[in-house]
């Protein structure tokens, strides 16, 4: 079974499809709202506005994907959101599938389980780093000028996140495919 077939097998299960979808939507909204997080947070916790007013404001800011991002950035934000959803669904599937390996199969099984987890979690972590951490950290350490020198002014990190997520999904899908057997010593 190929990687694509494995992903399809996992996402055909409603529980995992829902998890992937919910994660993707959350990541997308966080990405488009992040720049105005304080304003939106203040509006959210304010007792002065109706829920419908708050919902309208949040929805209007979500539409900034069409005005506040370059075409490239909009594409990679959507891609990262989708890939993160798939990645998380695969990680959860893997953990559920191999839950016995962590406890029953001894050190070898545990190592295999941890290997899959690490590749999945690295994907999540790297996406978070690429989209939100790298730019500000470069600014903090006085390397903000580096972003100006880069051909895509820092959007390279978003593309890097996509690459890392794809690798992570590939690795976790391969782990899911591998049979649960006790190796011959």
């Amino acid at each position: 079974m190929g990687v694509a077939a494995t992903i399809a097998r996992v996402l055909k299960k409603p529980r995992y499809a829902l998890l992937a979808l919910a994660t993707s939507v959350c990541v997308f909204l966080l990405a488009v709202w992040a720049q105005n997080a304080m304003l939106l947070w203040d509006i959210l916790i304010s007792g002065s506005y109706r829920v419908s007013t708050k919902a309208t404001i949040f929805w209007s800011f979500a539409q900034s994907i069409t005005t506040n991002f370059s075409t490239l950035a909009a594409v990679y934000i959507i891609a990262i959101a989708i890939l993160l959803g798939i990645n998380l669904a695969l990680v959860v599937f893997y953990i559920v599938q191999r839950r016995g390996a962590f406890t029953d199969a001894g050190p070898t099984g545990s190592a295999a389980g941890i290997g899959g987890l690490v590749s999945g979690i690295l994907g999540l972590g790297c996406a978070a780093c690429g989209t939100a951490l790298v730019g500000p950290i470069l600014g903090l350490v006085g390397a903000g000028g580096l972003l100006a020198v880069l051909p895509l002014h820092g959007e390279e990190f978003g593309l890097l996140s996509i690459a890392l997520l794809l690798i992570s999904i590939y690795l976790i899908a391969k782990r899911i495919q591998s049979p649960l057997v006790c190796p011959i010593e």
Binding site: R15, A37, L39, D42, S46, T67, T131
Partner: protein
């Protein structure tokens, strides 16, 4: 043997929410540290000249900002109840998009919103932006506030952004908006307006602007709402409506 559709163990029941929590921590951590690095989670400074008791307000996005004065470039009714102070860069593609949004806001809120334009050329990214800011000030000096706004509209209309504007076009733009070309060229070669632009830049930095466009909506009672980036018309309209409710 382990099976996929096995028993509904406690482990299985909890793994999904735990996984979401872990992912949330990663993403939330990234956003938190990103925002902290941008200074966006520090909202403790107060607006210069703002009324007292602001900290009791439901929206307390107070920023340190120079008060709007006659020296500002104001579009719309200068005495409008809501002021929107925009820090902008002529070579920023998002400022270009936001300019159209703001034109629409001022037009539709006929007399209720004053649009205040302040310069924040990001010279690290756009080396031509500072000179274009000077050019707009030359247009203002020679043709008044009306010429400044016509010049601003025109430059955003024709610039390809990201340092794409050919500066030999600046006198053409000046002539297009009715400013004397020779006087404009002489002004552009001088440095009479550098202090004004530097003051705007300092004001933007004081207001903790981390990029452009950076807008501060000031309500009639002095409350401030900070809008980062080129938000769509609907988003700006909603915030202006909130500001108008504050009296």
């Amino acid at each position: 043997m382990t099976t996929e559709a096995g028993e509904n163990t406690s482990f299985e029941k909890h793994i999904t929410p735990l996984a979401i929590l872990a992912a949330g921590m990663f993403i939330g951590g990234g956003l938190y540290f990103g925002l902290a690095a941008n200074g966006m989670n520090d909202q403790t400074v107060s607006q210069a000249g703002a009324p007292t008791g602001e900290n009791d307000s439901p929206i307390a996005q107070n920023v340190s900002l120079a008060s709007v004065s006659a020296e500002d470039h104001i579009r719309g009714n200068a005495d409008a109840p809501v002021k929107l102070i925009e820090f902008s860069d002529f070579e920023c593609p998002f400022c270009q998009r936001f300019h159209t949004t703001m034109q629409q806001i001022v037009e539709e809120y006929d007399g209720k919103v004053a649009w205040v334009y302040r310069h924040y050329p990001l010279v690290q990214l756009h080396q031509k932006a500072y000179r274009e800011a000077v050019a707009s000030e030359c247009a203002a000096e020679l043709g008044g506030n009306g010429a400044f706004w016509k010049f601003t509209d025109r430059i955003f209309e024709i610039t390809p952004a990201n340092d794409g504007l050919d500066h030999t076009q600046l006198p053409e733009i000046a002539a297009y908006v009715g400013v004397d070309r020779a006087a404009f060229s002489a002004c552009l070669e001088g440095d009479a307006h550098n202090a004004r632009i530097d003051r705007d830049i300092a004001d933007a930095q004081n207001a903790r602007a981390q990029g452009t466009p950076y807008s501060v909506v000031v309500a009639p009672n002095g409350k401030t709402f900070v809008i980062n980036g080129a938000q769509p018309y609907e988003a700006v309209k909603r915030i202006v409506d909130l500001a108008l409710e504050e009296s």
